[in-house]
Every structure is written in C-alpha cells, then in structure tokens.
Symmetry: C2
Subunit: 345 residues, 2 copies
C-alpha cells in the first residue's frame, strides 16, 4: 500500500526518523535513565518500541494512559506524573503504579484509591503542580505515616525545556534542579524524576528523564538544534489552487494549535481553518509535492488540485490526540497502521 | 446522576442554554432559511434537535460528517461545503448529496464519484476555497455539460463573521454578498448559501445561512453580543492549589486552542499545558466553585483540591472534536450523554 491510497488528512510517522530518534535517545539515556512520556504519542505500539530499546518504566499524564499501558503488559513501572483526586482506577491496575502527590489531599486520594507508591511532586519554577520545595519532606513524612512507599521526588522544569539558548537552558536547569535536589535530601528515596526532550542532555541531576517529544518531534522543538528528526507529519491533499495561494485539507482539527501554525516546507502557511490550511504558492515557493497526481513530483508554483503535500505540526502531543490512528511510512510506502488508543480520559 | 459523579475533564452542554439557542435561531431563520453546520458539534443527537426545530438540510465540512448524518436518517439534503478530490464515498450515500466545487478538477471528482448535484463555491473575500466570482458562470456551464445539477452558489464570508463592530460586519457582508449575488446571476439555481453565526441576522442576501456555533457558542463569539448563550463548558477538578494560583485537570487536549486560552469566570487563566490549566486565585478571585468537596459552594480565595469548576472554551468546534462524548446537564443534574461520533475523517 502507498501513501497515495490513504484518505487525507492522514497522520504519518516516518519510520527511519522514528528509529533514529529512539536509538539516539537510548544511546544517550539507556534503560532506566529514560522514563519515556507516553502523553506525547498515546500509542501502545510506539511504547513497545521504547520498551524494546530498554526503557521499561513509563511516564503518563492521564489515568487512561496508565490503564492502556497496564492492559498492554507494559506495566513494569508506571508513573502518573500528575495529581489526581480519585485514584480508584489506578488502585485496580495490574501494574506497578506510582502517582505524583503535592498535598495532603492528593496523598489521601492515593491511600483511598489503593495506590501504594508515590513521588513527591515539587514546584521547581513552573507555576503548575508541585509543593513548595521546603514542604516536600513534611509531605513525605505524611505519606509514609499513611503507609505509602515514597520513591523520591519529581519536578518538571517545564519553563526551561523550550528555551532556544542552550547556555540559558543549562543555567536555568541547574537552578531548578538545585531546588529539586534539596527537596530530595529531605524526602529520600531512589528517584529524582525530571526533565524533558529540551533538557535530556542538560539535566544531569535527575536519576531519570521524562522525555516524550523526542520520538516524533515537532517544529517547536526543532528550533533547539537537538539530534532528533521530525518524524511526524500530516499528509494533506490540495483541494483548491488560486492566484498566489492554495488550500489543502489539513485543518486545525488535525493539528495541535497551541504552539501556532504548522509548517509547510518551501511555503508559508497563511492560516488554518477547521478543515483547511491556506498557504502561499508564489513563484518563490519551493514546495515539494509528493504523490503528484497524475504526473511526477512538481514544485510549488505548478501546484495542482489533487497533489499531496506534507504539513509539519507545531506541537506533537495535541496533534496525536486528534487522530484515531497514525500510519508508519517509509517514503511513500505504508509500513504499518497504529491505533492511537490512549486518547481521552 | 450528578455532575459530581463524572470523570473530569468532562465536556458539558447546558440543556437550557442549548434549547434557548436552538429556539432563538429557529425563530430568526425558520426551516430552510438555516442549514445548520454540523462541523461545530459533530454530534448526531444535536443534529436531531436541529431537525426537530424544522431545519432539514445540513452543512458538513467532512465526508465523515456526511456519512454519519446519512446513516442516522438525516440525509434529506446534505451539503458538503468543502472541496474534495475523491467523492466516491459521497456517491455511495443513501441521501441527497450536494458538494461544493470551485475548479474543473473538483467538478470531475464529483462526476467520477457519482455525486449528482453541486454548488459553485465562490471566493467572496476569504483567501480559502472558492473560484473567482467572474469564473462561476463558466464553471456552472462545465458542471452542467457533464450532467451535474447545479443548485446555485456558496460563498462564506469567514473574514467577516468574527468582526466585533456590527456596523462593520454589515458593510463587509454587503460587499461579500454583492460578489456572491453577481456570481449567482451567472450561475442560476435556487440556492445562495452563505453566512455563519456572526452574520446570521446581517446576511439578508443568502437564501440559507450555514451557522453552526450558535447552538453551543464560545467565548470568541460571545464578544459579538449575539442573543445566543454559552452552552458548552468543560467541568474540571482542582488538583493543586498554591499561593496565588491553582491548577485544574482541563488542559489543551480538552480544548480548541487556536482562538487562545479558555476562560474561567471570576479568575484569570495563566496558561494551559497538555492536561492542566493554571489560573489565578487571589483575594480578588470571584470564582464560583460547583460540586465543592466536601462543603457547600465556596469562592475563589478559599479554593480546595477536589473542588470542581467550569472552564469555557474559546472555540467550540475543535473542542468538540477532542472529546468522545458530551454530557447534557441541567444545573448539576446529568440529563443525557451524547457520543461525538462524527469526529475524524
């Protein structure tokens, strides 16, 4: 089967780029040094490839993701890196389950739900979840007094991972991890869980890195000059060509839009509507047409209705969450189709 | 069942507000004067309510939406207000199917796919699909020469519907509809299909209005002072409270983000992450807590982990597209749960 046979918009993973990304990360952070974040892809077959690289612990953002990995037999060591008020579904899982807690209320929720292990979530600079660093030790004591195992601390430097300037990323990561390590001294346990794709090689304090985007990458992370390749794209069909612009059938319901417009290499995206992307096709466009219909590949200024192009999402995670399935391709050859079954809550 | 029993994030429709919106629109644009746009909700039970108000023609943006309505017995008169290159799935539907065309290639696609009726899509100022107004008559001749029925013209003034200033909306709609009416004189047929929620009472040229957002509304359209009420919200649970801010479990994967951040009445949203919304809770917050746990409703500055709040999406359409289901509520009472089954392509 060829990409030409796919209904568009179709979410594609470039098989070679994915493999490169998985191998590059596994070489940098082997085995337990990486706890891949499943929220970035919500896709069991991709998690299996990460496990095959030697990463047997996973990070999740939702209970549904935890349930899906457990049901798939990938439940060796699952971390819900997020607070929950009702942990009862977690307590029922056939898996090793650890949940983040940052308050007495979330500790009580873990106990009530039958979860046995927690990480103390520490605010290291991103105004989101996490206790004040100075409060981590007290919360660990509370958790242990209620019979919970405290495996260590977690603290996500989310305000740092996207900084373009590597030196600034290094300095700000050091500041954040100073806070986390101080909290860890108060809390104890073997885990210091932190980091993301943008700090995977910068954060040398964490015992494990929670990177997810590295596997598929997006245009936001591409700016950072990391050794990972953009593996995710949306195949779209040109449905209308006008003077100076054209329209393809990949709209904002096929793309995560919180990081802005997608990119079409060789062209400039004007705007997205629900089911359309409008982009420039002047004489200067160097857009590569694939699956050109009916001729061989042509370039931007000669674009025709029926031609197919690739659209690169600005943000992987919410893009994956819009699609029922993703098609793994090698060039224009379809290798496999994977369900994106960990969507929803 | 109460909203307190729902897993969060949960997409909610306020039953009374929806009914008000449906009735208000049906009074303004009865029967065939409105061709409700299904892309705004992707929900068959809601389309049935629109049909019950007397609107028996529907507008769709995707083939999947067309298929779903046809399968549900709502196929009296379905318009795909979008160009397609492969119309074969449309040709197989047990429904009256009309598709927008704006080029010889899309006319040929309709013929090839077995579709029998088309509208000539005219560019009336939004750089997206649609032929040049002066070319509409020629395309209608081409379509008729190939055996297609040409029902008239379509032209969406999408660059006008969101303008805050009503006088400007009126003036710009007049300009756009001048173009469309000129094209209609060349094309013939009974339909002049145009408009949206923002121009439903301003566009007096169109024979039918393609409004969709009016049924559920969002904060973007709310600025326009229309007589429709915000019926859609996301119920979220507060999972973390810090000094000056709190976090609830409604992130950017539960919200269309292309129009920006959601609104939390009585508070200020700081930012959204994948599964979090961070918002201010100072002394000045007047946030209304519903389903407060365990006490009666409290106000913002006394927010606790486990409290539940309502988050208002900035854009209805891509918000609906993220959720498997929507829960119809009357206050905190659950009335019904509807699948959002027309998602995907």
């Amino acid at each position: 089967m060829k990409t030409l046979d796919l209904t568009t918009p179709a979410l594609l993973i470039d098989h070679r780029a994915l493999q490169h990304n998985l191998e590059t990360m596994a070489a940098a952070l082997p085995g337990r040094r990486l706890r891949p974040h499943v929220k970035a892809h919500k896709c069991v077959p991709l998690a299996r490839l990460q496990a095959a690289q030697g990463h047997h612990g996973f990070t999740c953002a939702t209970i549904r993701e935890m349930e899906g990995l457990a049901a798939a037999g990938l439940g060796d060591d699952l971390l819900l890196a997020n607070e929950v008020v009702d942990a009862s579904r977690l307590g029922r899982l056939d898996a090793r389950v650890t949940v983040a807690v940052d308050s007495e209320a979330t500790i009580e929720a873990a106990v009530r739900g039958g979860v046995r292990e927690v990480l103390i979530d520490v605010n290291v600079g991103l105004p989101r979840c996490g206790c004040a660093p100075a409060d981590a030790g007290r919360l660990a004591d509370v958790a242990r007094s209620k019979g919970l195992g405290v495996r260590g601390v977690m603290g996500y430097e989310g305000h740092v991972v996207g900084l373009d300037d590597r030196a600034l990323r290094v300095a700000k990561t050091a500041e954040a991890m100073d806070l986390l390590c101080a909290a860890h001294r108060d809390v104890g346990g073997e885990l210091v869980s932190a980091g993301g794709t943008g700090t995977y090689d910068v954060n040398t304090w964490a015992s494990e890195i929670q990177a997810g985007s590295y596997a598929l990458m997006d245009t936001a992370y591409a700016r950072l000059g990391l050794p990972f390749r953009q593996a995710l794209s949306v195949l779209a069909t040109v449905i209308s060509v006008s003077s100076g612009f054209a329209v393809a059938d990949c709209g904002l319901k096929a793309l995560g839009m919180d990081h802005g417009n997608p990119t079409i290499p060789g062209s400039k995206v004007w705007f997205c509507s629900d089911e359309h992307v409008t982009f420039g096709v002047g004489d200067d466009a160097s857009l590569v047409v694939e699956d050109a219909a009916p001729d061989a590949p042509r370039r931007g200024s000669a674009l025709r209705v029926g031609d197919r192009i690739r659209v690169l999402p600005a943000h992987v995670d919410p893009t994956m969450a819009y699609h029922e399935r993703v098609v793994v391709v090698a060039g224009t050859e379809v290798v496999e189709t994977w369900p994106i079954e960990l969507r929803g809550w």
